[in-house]
């Protein structure tokens, strides 16, 4: 042991004196000589060589980190850019064809080991919480400037590895395998408690508890709040099958019999007021299988992953149009992260008129309305690391087909995504 320690010191010193490619050759030579002379065994030489190499890699990472100013050591920057072509065809209306960009930029700053602040900006407008798109030439002036909005700003506190408390405007913490209920751009405002506890390497439990502010009224009379609780379970079977399921329960205050939101489109009204409550229950499930076609020629090679998933919503208050679902399957790579990787996804959705508040669902699918059924097909292809091409096609129509805006609609979106 002492001999090995002495060799480690000598080799470590030599490694510090040498750099880059010269290191590998010289150290290997030195160790080989020690083996030849019987000072070290081949196993000890292998141990010294590998551990020294790993030690140097760590020292370099440490030095890189320490060279950064202190504030930069605590900050992580992330963002993405999307270029989109969108084509919409609706019966009885002119075809709509447009170009759009989306940019999002975020900073996460560690205050200490338990506390973090996150701030993000994005393109978009303050009046549409379901979109961060900026449309080309959408004003009376060509090449007009685009608005930048505050996308999120929050503080979070994690007293343990399995508990996080967050407050502010933040990414939606409610787990959803589809966007039946929540548009991905919508960042709620309020507080969130997240428990994520792993019982063993295979089984984990999680719980999301949220209080979202929906309407602020200075008099307090018309304040609206949403309470959510979502317990769930995650299970991994031999690294081959991933299972995740949860049930979210939603409770709203001050909704039924009060004035509708200006963004309302399809929910039932009584005069200008909401006719129903939207307290509802939402089970969600997702099952992913790695190598689902092992042993089947061709399929085994080209389909390394397949998954099924679905959301269901039920609102007991209305007499009709009280439920909805979005279910689908995906196959290809589990995640598209590099050149040549791909994933295809097919989803079937139906959402009753009053199953859910119509101001929250995915705005690309039939304008985000309820009272609709749809089919969506998505094909994503990796162009390089952190860059992909996405084709997203929607076909949707109203469940009752009344009025021009409720005619069948087809949307095709072609996206070029770049992330950093």
């Amino acid at each position: 042991m002492k001999k090995l320690l002495a060799v480690l010191v000598v080799v470590g010193f030599a490694a510090l004196c040498l750099t880059g490619s010269s290191y590998a050759g010289e150290i290997d030579l030195l160790l080989q000589k020690l083996v030849d002379k019987g000072v070290l065994t081949a196993g000890e030489a292998q141990q010294v060589k590998t551990e020294t190499k790993e030690g140097i890699r760590k020292e370099i990472a440490q030095a890189k980190y320490e060279l950064l100013p202190e504030w930069m050591q605590r900050v992580k920057m992330k963002g993405d850019f999307r270029l989109r072509y969108a084509y919409t065809k609706q019966k009885g209306a002119s075809d709509d064809s447009k170009g759009q960009i989306r940019m999002r930029l975020g900073l996460d700053t560690k205050i200490n080991d338990q506390m973090k602040v996150g701030v993000g900006i994005a393109t978009g407008s303050t009046t549409n919480p379901r979109s961060t798109n900026a449309t080309f030439a959408d004003s009376n002036y060509p090449a007009s400037f685009k608005s930048i909005i505050l996308d999120y700003a929050y503080g979070s506190y994690s007293p343990t590895t399995w508990l996080t408390l967050t407050g502010g405007k933040f990414k939606n913490p409610i787990w959803q395998p589809t966007d039946l209920l929540w548009d991905g751009d919508l960042n709620p405002e309020g507080v969130n408690v997240q428990l994520d506890y792993r019982l063993n390497p295979y089984l984990g439990l999680f719980l999301n508890g949220e209080i979202f502010a929906l309407t602020y009224d200075s008099s307090g009379d018309a304040n609206r709040t949403m309470f959510v609780i979502q317990p769930g379970v995650k299970y991994n079977w031999h690294d081959k099958v991933d299972f995740k399921a949860a049930v979210a329960s939603y409770f709203f205050t001050n909704l039924k019999g009060t004035a509708t939101y200006a963004l309302r489109t399809t929910n039932s009204v009584d005069g200008n007021n909401y006719k129903y409550n939207y307290n509802s229950v939402n089970p969600s499930v997702e099952i992913g299988i790695k190598d689902p076609f092992a042993g089947v020629p061709i399929l085994a090679k080209y389909v390394p992953y397949a998954g099924i998933f679905g959301d269901f919503i039920y609102n007991p208050d209305p007499e009709t149009g009280k439920s909805g679902f979005d279910a689908g399957f995906k196959f290809g790579q589990e995640k598209v992260g590099d050149w040549g990787q791909w994933q295809a996804k097919i989803l079937f959705a139906k959402l009753g008129r009053d199953a859910w508040l119509d101001i929250f669902p995915d705005s690309d699918r039939y304008g985000g309305k309820t009272n609709m059924k749809s089919v969506e097909g998505i094909l994503e292809y990796g162009l390089s690391k952190n860059s992909s091409l996405v084709l997203d096609y929607y076909w949707a129509e109203s469940l009752t087909r009344t009025g021009q805006s409720f005619m069948p609609q087809q949307v095709l979106q072609v996206d070029w995504n770049l992330k950093w």
Partner: protein, 278 residues
């Protein structure tokens, strides 16, 4: 009153003894339990070593979990495990994350993993290149004639995808490519060797510790697999196996790593079919 005080003192001492029941052991209250997590390749070594270590040190509790190298290293970075088992070196991105999280990952090489290519003894070939092995396992070569052997169909035998040996073979030989779908997947090294023994035209791979006289061992890129060629990096289908810890180790973590590196620990490594460093 005096009796009451005496009784209280005796009870306090008894209670204290129960609370510090391990006072005679070498470890402090917080040091008796460690969690080891990560690579399924390293898992059998860690499990047997932990059982032996706990038998020798009854006041210790070592929890050993699988999950994969990435999971183990992520847990080390999150400070939820004491030792991360890994069948690969920590990635640069993981190192950066560790440093940012104030974790000082230290590598301990505990063994080498050497994978041996074996064929049926009737096969006239005695050597293949890595490229030829890849072509066989990915389906580009299906007859031994294409490699100068008999006019005979190649029967490809592989470990099943949950095994660490399968993962290592995929990385070291196939470069991430998929094994041909008609390969016969076996659940153990012994099962692979058995199929090779009884099937003419079969090729398979096993850990260095599982070769026997009923199979023929192939040279790879001109190198005969042996403990020496694996330890000296001459044999191309080999890799180090790691246990990563955070910073300077003390207490049970240090003693456990020392145990693995001892003659007894390295014997366990050999018994599990890997190449010990001693």
């Amino acid at each position: 009153m005096k009796n009451s005080i005496k009784t209280l003192l005796v009870l306090s001492l008894l209670f204290g003894s129960v609370l510090t029941g391990y006072a005679g052991g070498p470890y402090g209250e917080d040091e008796r339990k460690i969690i080891i997590e990560g690579s399924t390749t390293v898992l059998p070594i860690a499990q047997v070593a932990a059982e032996t270590f706990m038998r020798q040190n009854p006041d210790t509790d070592i929890v050993v979990r699988g999950g994969g190298s990435g999971v183990g290293i992520a847990s080390l970075i999150d400070k939820t495990c004491d030792i991360a088992n890994s069948s690969r070196a920590i990635k640069d991105s993981e190192l950066d994350k560790a440093v940012t999280n104030g974790v000082d990952p230290r590598a301990h090489v505990i063994a080498m993993d050497g994978i041996v290519l074996i064929v049926n003894p009737a096969n006239p070939l005695s050597a293949l290149s890595k490229k030829q092995i890849k072509d066989i396992y990915t389906g580009n070569i299906s007859n031994w004639k294409e490699l100068g052997g008999n006019d005979e169909k190649v029967v490809v035998v592989s470990r099943d995808s949950s095994s660490g040996t399968f993962e290592a073979f995929g990385t070291l030989v196939l470069g991430g490519a998929k094994v041909r779908p008609d390969a016969l997947l076996q659940a153990s090294n012994q099962a692979v060797a058995s199929v090779i023994t009884h099937t003419q035209g079969a090729i398979g791979y096993v850990g260095l510790g599982y070769i026997n006289s009923e199979v023929k061992v192939l040279q790879v890129d001109g190198v005969i697999p042996s403990k020496e060629t694996v330890l000296t990096d001459k044999y191309p289908v080999s890799r180090p196996l790691y246990m990563y810890t955070n910073g300077i180790i003390t207490g049970i973590t240090r003693d456990f790593i020392d145990f693995i590196m001892s003659k007894e620990g390295q014997k366990i490594v050999d018994e599990q079919g890997y190449v010990g460093l001693k």
